[in-house]
């Protein structure tokens, strides 16, 4: 049995991750990053035949996206909005005085037009407002560095992490099919890396009492599935989630299909850091000693015993 405390200590001692100074903030070694990028390439390749339109989003998005997506309403305790100093120079000393005394200098900042990205599909939807969206659906592959304010000592719960997503925008049936196809495909892909995966019905951590009702509805309608595996301890956690959003984002962002019906959406998100951690948990911290087929799948150098010939 390993606990997440033990695993965290091992990760830090090995240098794979570096403590960023507050709970849930980690710097990545190049070795860790190589795994994450290997996972990225591995899942991306699985969607290549579908010919998705591909977009990398920056770690910030518009404040309007955070509001419009419903994320602010449903997860106010997880969001991050960006503020900056917009005062006159004579007002700066007070900011610095407060900072020097450990006071609340941020109160003197002004909210900007940007917020930290919460999910790798959210920045996509506002882009599609004026697009022609065929009923049979459009596929997208997106990635973003996401922020969730949930400080924790469990390395599986980072405040900043990457989601790699495959998103469908189209009909209700198409969206559900996308979700189900990718759920099976994702579970198969992750199992092929040696992970002990299972798929389970899940719910998002909606905020408050209203959130309890939303979560219960999400479960009853089986809108959200997670692919779970041991990540930082023997207790399984989500390394991927496959979601049918119904017309939530279609209504929120006024997305109409070519037949004038409201767009339905679905996505699968792969957590690059969590999958990397799950691999380290499963195969050990020494990547060179991982099974050859896993290393080959992730493009992590030559297999064991294959010496350089030069």
């Amino acid at each position: 049995m390993t606990s997440s405390e033990d695993f965290r200590r091992e990760l830090l001692e090995s240098g794979l991750l570096v403590d960023g100074g507050v709970r849930g903030l980690y710097h990545r070694s190049f070795a860790f990053e190589a795994i994450a990028r290997g996972v990225e390439g591995y899942v991306s390749a699985a969607g290549r035949d579908d010919g998705p339109r591909q977009l990398y989003f920056p770690p910030i998005t518009t404040r309007a996206t955070l509001e419009g997506s419903g994320y602010l309403a449903s997860f106010p305790d997880l969001v991050g909005a960006v503020s900056s100093f917009s005062g006159a120079e004579r007002e700066l000393p007070e900011v610095l005085r407060r900072a020097a005394e450990g006071g609340a200098w941020e109160e003197l900042l002004t909210p900007t037009e940007v917020a930290l990205c919460s999910a790798a599909c959210h920045p996509l939807y506002p882009l599609l407002v004026d697009e022609s969206l065929p009923v049979e659906g459009t596929l997208f592959e997106t990635q973003a560095c996401c922020f969730r304010h949930e400080p924790s000592d469990d390395p599986a719960r980072m405040q900043s992490f990457r989601q790699h997503e495959f998103v469908y925008v189209g009909s209700p049936d198409g969206a559900l099919a996308h979700r189900d196809t990718w759920l099976a495909r994702g579970a198969s892909l992750l199992a092929a890396l040696g992970l002990d995966v299972a798929t389970v019905v899940a719910n998002d951590p909606f905020f408050g009492r209203a959130g309890q009702l939303l979560a219960a509805g999400q479960r009853e309608k089986e809108l959200k599935y997670e692919i779970v595996a041991p990540i930082s301890s023997d207790t399984p956690g989500a390394i991927s989630s496959a979601n049918f959003h119904e017309d939530h984002f279609g209504v929120a962002f006024d997305l109409s299909l070519d037949d004038a019906s409201v767009a339905h959406t679905a996505c699968i998100g792969f957590g690059l850091e969590r999958i990397s951690l799950a691999l380290l948990h499963r195969h050990g911290l020494l990547v060179e000693a991982w099974p050859d087929e896993v290393r080959a799948s992730l493009g992590l150098g030559a297999p064991r015993g294959a010496e350089a010939t030069s």
Binding site: G70, A73, L213, L214, A216, G217, Q218, K221, D247, H248
Partner: protein, 86 residues
């Protein structure tokens, strides 16, 4: 005290974003079939709490509680709403 059924229908009319008028609903009509979305059901829940000055306990924060006018009336009944008129 306002008629409980009427208040429920008015709340649905204002917050349910249903496909037709809530005022002509039958007691057992399935509201989810009539377009009651998850987020709208939350607004209905909050508006009912406001209207009747009650708080739904966790055990009632389920999809079935808000499935029909009848199910809402029954849930509110367990909180003492409408009992005096019985």
């Amino acid at each position: 005290m306002r008629d409980v059924d009427t208040t429920i229908r008015e709340v649905l009319e204002a917050h349910g974003r249903l496909s037709g008028s809530a005022l002509s609903l039958k007691d057992d009509d399935d509201l989810y079939q009539r377009g009651l979305a998850s987020h709208a059901s939350v607004n209905v829940m909050l508006a009912l709490e406001d209207a009747f000055d009650v708080e739904f306990p966790d055990s009632l924060l389920r999809r079935d509680t808000f499935r029909s006018v009848a199910s809402m009336r029954e849930a509110l009944g367990t909180l003492g709403v409408g009992q005096a008129e019985g």
